[in-house]
């Protein structure tokens, strides 16, 4: 595995024209795409503006900080249920988000704190959802795996279950003809679920604008991809569906790949995109993440492939940002997430009657049964995003 990692490195930075300290725009060469059933691939020469550089760096750093907070809150036993951290994979989400338009949608699995933030939920909305408090984006009712926002159809706790839903969401884009598409994300572990192939097949038959994204972080829950999959080239596993492999540690490569995929699926139908990435933590908080890999391996990735460090070095080298600006972003991200964590701890829980809230629209029985009798009033609270 490590050899493979070194093999695809480095995504050489070639600043074509100007290495000036105060550049506002630079051209960057990204490479390392692999193609399946495609004649041409994503653009390898991409433009990066100063604003974009600041935006992507801020987003990745905030996600990293959010996850650090989440990990701490879990260890403090303030987060209950499950908690899956995205640290190491930030460039995947930020790169894809950068290529999305207003009519595009995304649905993913249970490693979604970062995505939730990228889709417009504030750090407090994310962390309070994790702590099960009122300010959470689902008022604490969904927890770590179930966060939602407009155009974000949520995280999903059942391995692979969100993939056919993504095809369904894509049908709506196709049917409305609004030019939108849906990113349906899953991990390398979920890639072996039967329904993933059902979804590929349906989407291909009906030419639905779906980008099936396999975020390959190398490990399912407790085992490596090689031990779980007969074919670990996940981008080829759509059979008739074209596939695209991208270095998921390079935010600009992911953005370029997603732009290409977006254009492809809205014209031709679905495509499988594999973002080759790495997770630093265990699968969830209950997995130390060291029984199936060495600590040295994790350290090596942190040193050589970290998506945030490598991007920082790149944009400094390109002269798009200064050390001071980087420092200011780091401080701000830390402050913002620290404050959000404090609020998420101090926030109130929703009242007990929410146990019986929003089970149904128009519940037949106004009173529902508690331990003693029909004593609980069913209630409806939010007006849905999709109604």
């Amino acid at each position: 595995m490590l050899r493979k990692i070194t093999g695809i490195l480095p995504n050489a930075v070639k600043n074509a024209s100007n290495v000036k300290t105060y550049a506002t725009e630079a051209t960057v060469e990204v490479k390392g795409f692999k193609l399946h059933r495609l004649d041409s691939g994503p653009a390898t020469s991409v433009t990066l503006t100063k604003d974009e550089a600041i935006k992507y760096y801020t987003q990745m750093q905030t996600i990293r900080r959010l996850e650090t907070q989440a990990g701490n809150l879990y260890k403090e036993k303030i987060i209950r249920g499950f908690c899956h951290l995205y640290s190491g994979q930030e460039a995947c989400a930020v790169g894809m988000r950068a290529a999305m338009t207003e009519v595009d949608n995304i649905i993913s699995a249970y490693r979604v704190h970062g995505w939730t933030y990228l889709m417009g939920v504030t750090p407090i909305g994310v962390l309070a959802e994790l702590t099960g408090r009122k300010s959470g984006c689902a008022r604490g009712k969904g927890g770590s795996m179930h966060m939602y926002a407009p155009n974000f159809y949520g995280g999903n706790g059942i391995v692979g279950a969100q993939v056919p839903l993504g095809a369904g969401v894509a049908l709506a884009c196709h049917y409305k003809g609004n030019g939108g598409m849906c990113l349906a994300l899953y991990g390398d572990g979920a890639a072996n679920q039967g329904q993933v192939f059902e979804a590929y097949n349906m989407a291909h038959l009906w030419k639905l604008p779906t980008i099936f994204v396999c975020e390959n972080n190398g490990y399912g829950m407790g085992t490596s991809a090689e031990r779980a999959a007969s074919n670990t080239d996940y981008y080829t596993r759509g059979d008739a569906l074209p596939g695209l492999w991208v270095d998921g540690m390079d935010v600009l490569a992911v953005r370029s790949a997603t732009e290409f995929a977006r254009d492809y699926v809205t014209k031709n139908g679905p495509l499988v995109m594999e973002t080759y990435t790495y997770r630093y933590s265990g699968h969830s908080m209950s997995d130390p993440g060291t029984s199936y890999r060495t600590r040295e391996e994790i350290q090596e990735v942190r040193q050589k492939r970290d998506p945030i460090t490598s991007f920082k070095e790149r944009i400094l080298e390109l002269g798009l940002v200064t050390q001071e600006e980087i420092k200011a972003i780091d401080v701000k991200a830390k402050k913002e997430t620290d404050e959000a964590a404090a609020k998420a701890k101090a926030d109130v829980e929703i009242p007990l009657e929410e146990l019986y809230t929003d089970v149904y629209s128009n519940c037949k029985e106004p009173k529902l049964r508690d331990c003693l009798g029909y004593n609980i009033q069913h209630r409806v609270l939010n007006k849905g995003v999709n109604t």
């Binding site: 056919p164 049908l171 089970v359 109604t387």
Partner: protein, 371 residues
């Protein structure tokens, strides 16, 4: 899978033969019930004679015509479906609105939930209830819980799943089952079962309109055997409300779907042979279910029989019996009796012995009356 399709084909052939050879003679050999048409009309306006698949077809036709977002999909629905429920709909509304899916029930359900998540009207057909289990995860874990777990930000309320189900006389293990009880255990879902064409149309339209994910189990033996006058306009039957089809004072008989017709005949037998006045209730809706009507009737008669095709243990009759003893304990003259399929897989060669036919139900009445 190949075997399944041979069987499916045979079922269709049999059905087709039935219509060309003359319905009555074939039916009398095959069916364990005599269909009793509804007399009262739920909708308003002009009516037309329809069988159950025509009534369902009519409901979907009206939906596609009135709701631009409505789409219908499932195995073979583009050709009309193996039971002809979606006949001509693809011709009329196009391939982008009525389309075939591959054989992938889990994918169909998940896809449908995704469509519904966007607010569109999704009508999925699972070809046989016996095939719904790969979709069980999607329906129970995704459809039912989407609203709750998102704090009502998203839901899959505009999803309706149509599912042909139940005994047909020769369906054997995998073309006969009634899985309503599995789904009744899932808050967030609604489950209903029609007893005939009029109810089927009203319930399907109600399921489509209802803002919760609904499963309509359609007893497939009624598709052709059940014929009655059906209102041509849009109307909705109420989910969660039982129908008292016959009023009586001595004993309450509760069933749903095909079993309702068995119970109506049994009520006649009880009147004639035993002088017993039976009240017959079609529960109609399994989740939510009409506790009020059941409790009221049980308090009046003091004797209750619940009959369903599904096996005894954990069948929905168990929930009804528990609720009755909880609410009507002092009114009961006898324990609540369940007449059901046995706790075996649905048998290939013993179907006649397996189903709760009129003789078993009649015997149960004698037992309960003489308790």
């Amino acid at each position: 899978m190949a075997a399944i399709h041979v069987i499916t084909k045979n079922l269709v052939n049999l059905s087709l033969k039935k219509s060309t050879n003359g319905a009555v003679s074939v039916l009398s050999v095959r069916n364990h019930f005599n269909y009793v048409p509804d007399k009262k009309s739920e909708g308003k306006g002009a009516t037309k004679k329809m069988n159950m698949f025509q009534a369902l077809n009519n409901a979907m036709d009206l939906t596609l015509a009135n709701d631009d977002s409505a789409v219908i999909f499932g195995e073979d629905v583009g050709f009309g479906g193996v039971f002809r429920c979606t006949m001509n709909l693809q011709d009329k509304y196009g391939k982008d609105r009525v389309f075939n899916t591959p054989l992938c029930e889990q994918g169909i359900a998940g896809f449908g939930i995704g469509v519904a998540n966007t607010g569109a009207t999704a009508i999925a057909e699972i070809q046989f209830a016996d095939y719904i289990f790969p979709a069980f995860d999607q329906l129970v874990n995704e459809a039912a819980k989407y609203r709750y777990r998102s704090g009502n930000l998203f839901d899959s309320g505009s999803l309706t799943v149509r599912v042909p189900c139940g005994a047909v006389g020769h369906g054997a293990l995998y073309h006969s089952q009634m899985p309503e009880a599995y789904f009744a255990h899932t808050p967030g879902l609604k489950v209903a079962i029609p007893r005939g064409p009029q109810k089927a149309k009203g319930l399907l339209l109600a399921c489509i309109k209802d803002k919760n994910p609904c499963i309509l189990f359609e007893p497939k033996t009624l598709y052709r055997a059940a014929v009655e006058e059906v209102p041509e306009e849009i109307y909705e039957s109420k989910l969660g409300e039982a129908d008292i089809l016959r009023s009586g004072s001595d004993i309450t008989l509760i069933g749903w779907g095909t079993q309702v017709h068995v119970l109506l005949e049994v009520a006649d037998m009880a009147k004639k042979e035993l002088g017993v006045n039976a009240e017959v209730i079609d529960l109609v809706s399994i989740l939510p279910w009409d506790k009020e009507a059941v409790i009221k009737s049980a308090k009046k008669t003091g004797r209750v029989i619940v009959a369903h095709e599904a096996p005894l243990t954990n069948g929905f009759g168990a929930e009804i019996a528990a609720t009755i003893q909880e609410n009507c304990f002092l009114n009961l003259e006898a324990p609540v009796k369940r007449v059901t399929g046995w706790d075996t897989p649905f048998p290939h060669v013993f179907e006649k012995f397996y189903i709760p036919d009129k003789y078993r139900c009649f015997d149960a009445i004698k037992e309960v009356i003489n308790y």
